[in-house]
Amino acid sequence: MIKDIFVLNYYSGMEFNEKNKILTAGILLLTFTVYSFHLYSSLPRQNLAKADDSNGKLVWQEKNCISCHQIYGLGGYLGPDLTNVYSTKGPEYIKAFLKTGTVVMPNFKLSDKEIQELLGYLKNIDQTGKADPRTFTISYNGTIKQ
């Protein structure tokens, strides 16, 4: 019986005519559209009124920081995750890295303005939550929560 379910034998006699195909595709498309626009309109709100916030993100992108570093575990694998670096290491520590680089990280010769903007971005991202996997608990059904 399990085999029949997986090999889809149960459905082999099912009529999948043009009408059914279009109906299925239409329902899926409509659900997808509603879900997408719901997500766009209910983006998590944050208090990011300062103008330099988006600039910090643009510097982050222009210098391609994500090719080595991660934010919430998303990004490159050569450097550490920087989601909460602002609260764990502090701005002075970050500034020192940005100004001189390290053996592994090149010195990007950032201007003071760019450094300030990047610090602003890292500060804001830090305030959004914790990325450390140790802060999650796993429920019996396999879901996770913080």
């Binding site: 889809l8 459905y11 983006l43 944050q46 990011l48 988006s54 210098k63 919430y72 396999g142 996770i144």
Partner: protein, 377 residues
Amino acid sequence: MVLSYLRSVTGKKLYSFKLAYIHLLVFIISTLGIYFAYISGNFGGREYWEFPPFFAVLIIAGWILFLINFISSLSSFRNQPVYIWMWMTGIIFFLFTYLESYLWVIPYFRKNLIGDLLIQWKSNGSMVGSWNMLIYGSSIFLMEKISGNKETSQSSIAFILYFTGLFNLMFNWGHHIYTLPTAPYVQYISYAVSMTELFIIGRIIFNWKKTLDTAQKNLHILSYRLLLSADIWVFLTLALAILMSIPGINVYTHGTHITVAHTMGATIGINSFILLATITDNSEDNCSNLLHYHKIINKGIWISNISLLIFWCSLIGAGIKKAIWQTAEVQNSFSMMMQELKPYFIVFMAAGISLAIGLFCIIFPLMKMKISCIFKK
């Protein structure tokens, strides 16, 4: 490749060859421009699309031309085989998700740091599904061509599997961002939808014997061998993907090299082998048969598959090690952890070189034949 296959499905000429050439030209110009931007250190984009956003306009334009040519070349949408549905889905959703991935240029989206990440990975996740629709559609077309059985692609089972794929394309992207502080339903929807892939993997397992029997009959066909390689990688990659879609497991694997292993298995193991299979088939149809090169291509298939398996395992090994580090009560520094991963990276590099040699053994004869064919014509 899709446009070339479309011609043999409809039995008619393309709507516009001129449009297809412009499409190709736009992609060549944007590719060269993107390489130039990378070499000169000119970035500004994000993961996968790190180049300056200007090039996205060219890519979108090329994709629109592709869509126009595809739709106009189809005389009717009625009673089309499943791969036509898949190609159409792939083109439309790639265009949509690609546009969606550039919503960040609008401050409303960019300034919401979490919301922006959510949309970024929603679009990236679905975009992979769209690309897979194009690739798997070509694979089904080729398989049908080899077997000569035209009924499979019209069957209800083919459409059930297609709609399962479409359902996952639309809603299972959330596994990229389980750890992001978003609404919990994003996690629940994605988790539930991902589990429908169990039907696909179950089907692969229960049809294994049948697949082997077919394989014995068609193993002498080079493109079939490449498709069979891709099938094996579908199984391995899908098994890993399903495990990673369980949030309780994902929380450990997320941000580790296990994610890279999954991506490499999919892009090299599945996509590249299917693309090579379609190129092999196309070359044999339009140039001459590859009998002369069977031995070297066969060797290439073996070398690349074994190398890729080692490559894949080394990434999983490194990922497990990093996962242990990530969850340890007391952590070494990041650089010390990376030092400990060095043996895995050495194996990874050696397997990568061997993989490149294997792929070269397949690609070189194909290119050689194609070039001599062009000159003959």
